[in-house]
């Protein structure tokens, strides 16, 4: 029995390696990283914002989705940190849409958020159960997002569905060159 232990460990490592292989294989495409600028002409109308930048940075399974929002002189930054390896809880989960609707993030409540790489790492899928406050009290929205890197790596499309909305929200982005993004 004792003599078989190394062999079992080797087998376990092998199986673990096999299990992790798909994750390694579908890690995010590096081209997704960086600053993306929304193209208003090709996007769902922003309500309550005049401009939006999306800053994506992936580190292993962790992906930071930062939103740099502008409304005239006012600037707001909000980040949703997701993880493709495990579900996470995010307080004040940021939604781009509908600043002109009385639909608020429920105070101190966390959204349950899962994420996964699809399409050989060219698409990031995010699914969230978002706790909200409306005029009638607390409720929850099921939200589905896909961040799709388009051919060439310089354009990105974000498609968002809500369990409470029959019309998808579609935002087109163009990559901001690295040097310009530093300014």
């Amino acid at each position: 029995m004792v003599g078989n232990l190394p062999m079992k460990r080797t087998l376990l490592k092998f199986l673990l390696g096999l299990a992790l292989l798909p994750l390694v294989a579908v890690a995010g495409d590096p081209a997704l990283n960086g600053r993306w600028r929304m193209d208003p002409a090709r996007s769902t109308a922003l309500d309550g914002w005049t401009a939006m930048d999306l800053v994506i940075s992936a580190d292993g399974s962790k992906v930071s989705l930062r939103h740099d929002m502008t409304w005239h002189a006012t600037k707001v930054t909000a980040t949703n940190p997701v993880d493709t390896a495990q579900p996470v809880e995010i307080t004040d989960f940021f939604r781009v849409d509908q600043r002109h609707m009385a639909v608020y993030a429920r105070p101190k409540a966390a959204a349950q958020v899962s994420a996964a790489w699809l399409d050989n790492g060219r698409t990031l899928r995010v699914e969230a159960q978002v706790p909200l406050e409306t005029s009638q009290g607390d409720t929850t929205m099921r939200l589905y997002q896909e961040y799709r890197l388009l051919e060439g790596g310089t354009e990105l499309v974000l498609i968002e569905l809500h369990s409470t909305r029959s019309r998808p929200l579609v935002y087109h982005f163009t990559k901001v060159p690295e040097e310009a993004a530093k300014k």
Binding site: A45, W49, H100, M101, L132, T134, Q136, R167
Partner: protein, 548 residues
């Protein structure tokens, strides 16, 4: 967005309002003159002549309504044309057209004692010149217009060229304060803000000149500490119940900052800086026998029971004159209108014109937050009761039962919160015992209450006129889905210049059992079944601007 006054004290002001509706009108002018303005307000081209003519209007209208201006179709206030026709039709005013500045000076130079020169390269000199114009009966000219003034026999009274070169706005207005403020009105102050850059639209300057106001464009932004300190001096030296006319300066500070500051002193805000013809309008009263009669759809005592459906009601609050009153579609859906209550004092014919042309679907409400535009969370407790008594008296004159509140002191457009504290809500319920209910917000808000049979409902949605209608439809349907209990009370703010016809098409695309009802009916239904959560401003609510 907003409005103006006459009064020396709050009590006088309210009494004047009551007089306005009950007594015989001021004697109408039988003869008057009119000019038609184009849309060129550029400093480098059309502005200097308009600055001169608007100032001249204030002098010409000092003792009688003699000079009226009709603005271009794209001017922010759309009513100048219809109101001129109203004066002709209801008051027998005969207007003679003046086609040029030369003709205007030939007609009205006799009301002036000379001219004051301002320098377009130092724009605050325009405001200093207007202040001097009111005090000295001066025509306001740029150097290029001096020959024109001289041709009509006018002599120089003052010349601001060079006096303020290289000085900051705070330095300029500090000097002007030391020279002129003591002789200016201490009931009214002119905030000549609005556009920066290459245009200005000082449409309200006639009123400031007529009433001998001090003109300025100081900032209420804390980053401009010296300007803010000077403006606080002015506010602290105004008489109690005083009014700030005009509008804040775009780019220097925000509407929220300025209105917060004004409210902190218990003063009233009446706008905009472009509001035209007040020096004329204030002198023509209501037609004999006229009485405001609102289109109420329910009686005060009536009780309604809400059904299991979505009740939708629309409100247009940005001052009727800059709204969609004259555009096609009005009357197709019930729409509540935020009348500018202060016009009882300084533009009664405009209010009469709106009431005369109202359809049964048009319903007038009081506001905004007080007798004029204010942020109630910041009104000093010892001023609140007097101000709201003035507002309540105006509501009675205007036959209004619902009062609109707005407090964006902690907001910047869509960021922060627009909520009322519980203390503020308590004060409103106490101050307006006869009101059928209250509405709150500009953008969406979440202050809600129901006391006895009187709801306080905040806007659940704000329609930006530029938002595609299919997205508006989707937004409203999403709100209906998120607020799944029935009845659901969905109050919608329709921003100025929205197209009513397009709203009709939106309504057709809404899902569920939706009924669009007039605001007074909406409030009665909302009182019958509180499916909305009582809520006030919470300490943890996000604040964009923390105040002064």
């Amino acid at each position: 967005m907003k409005r103006l006054t006459f009064s020396l004290t709050l009590i006088f002001s309210a009494a004047a309002g009551l007089r306005g509706a009950d007594a015989a009108p001021a004697a109408p002018a039988r003869e008057a003159y009119v000019m038609h303005f184009d849309s060129d307000w550029k400093i480098a081209s059309g502005l200097p002549e308009k600055v001169m003519l608007i100032g001249l209007q204030g002098l010409a209208n000092r003792t009688a309504p003699r000079f009226y201006i009709v603005h271009a179709a794209d001017f922010p206030w759309e009513i100048t044309g219809p109101l001129k026709e109203f004066y002709e039709r209801k008051h027998g005013v005969h207007f003679t057209e003046l086609k040029t500045a030369e003709e205007a000076l030939a007609t009205f130079a006799r009301y002036s004692k000379g001219y004051v020169v301002w320098d377009p390269a130092v724009m605050p000199t325009m405001n200093v010149a207007y202040t001097i114009a009111g005090l000295e009966d001066a025509v306001v000219v740029t150097p290029a217009l001096i020959p024109l003034a001289a041709r009509h026999g006018l002599k120089p009274i003052d010349d601001l060229r060079g006096r303020y070169n290289g000085q900051t706005d705070a330095q300029i207005y500090t000097d002007a304060k030391s020279r002129y403020w003591a002789r200016c009105s201490h009931d009214k102050l002119m905030l000549m803000g609005g556009h920066r850059g290459d245009i200005r639209i000082p449409g309200i300057a006639d009123w400031g000149v007529r009433e001998k106001m001090f003109f300025h464009d100081l900032s209420a932004n804390p980053i401009h500490a010296d300007e803010l300190a000077l403006e606080k001096q002015f506010f602290s030296e105004l008489n109690p119940g005083g009014t700030i006319f005009g509008w804040h300066v775009y780019g220097k500070d925000t509407e929220e900052q300025h209105t917060t500051l004004i409210s902190t002193y218990g003063l009233k805000m009446e706008g905009l800086q472009s509001l035209p013809n007040l020096s004329f309008n204030c002198q023509i009263g209501f037609t004999p026998g006229f009485k405001f009669t609102n289109h109420h759809h329910v009686t005060s005592e009536q009780k309604l029971t809400a059904q299991a459906k979505v009740y939708l009601s629309f409100v247009q609050s940005d001052g009727i004159g800059i709204g969609v009153w004259t555009k096609p579609g009005r009357g197709r859906i019930p729409l509540a209108w935020g009348a500018i209550m202060g016009w009882v004092h300084f533009s009664p014919a405009a209010l009469e014109y709106f009431h005369e042309s109202a359809t049964p679907a048009d319903y007038f409400i009081g506001g905004l937050s007080g007798p004029s535009y204010m942020y109630p969370n910041h009104i000093p407790a010892n001023r609140f009761g007097l101000l709201m008594q003035e507002a309540s008296d105006l509501m009675k004159v205007l036959d209004e039962r619902i009062f609109e509140i707005m407090d964006n002191s902690a907001a910047d457009g869509n960021v922060g919160n627009a909520e009322l504290t519980k203390e503020t809500v308590d004060r409103y319920y106490a101050a307006f015992p006869d009101a059928a209910g209250f509405i709150n917000g500009y953008g969406p808000a979440r202050t809600r209450d129901l006391r006895d049979t009187r709801p306080l409902i905040s806007y659940d949605y704000y329609i930006d006129p530029r938002r595609p209608r299919e997205e508006v439809t989707a937004d409203l349907n999403e709100l209906i889905a998120l607020n799944a209990k029935r009845p659901y009370f969905l109050l919608v703010h329709v921003r100025e210049s929205n197209d009513v016809n397009s709203l009709v098409e939106v309504i057709k695309q809404l899902t569920g059992p939706v009924e669009v009802v007039p605001l007074d009916t909406f409030m009665k239904f909302a009182a019958s079944n509180q499916t909305y959560v009582t809520r006030y401003q919470h300490p943890d609510d996000p604040k964009h601007f923390k105040g002064y």
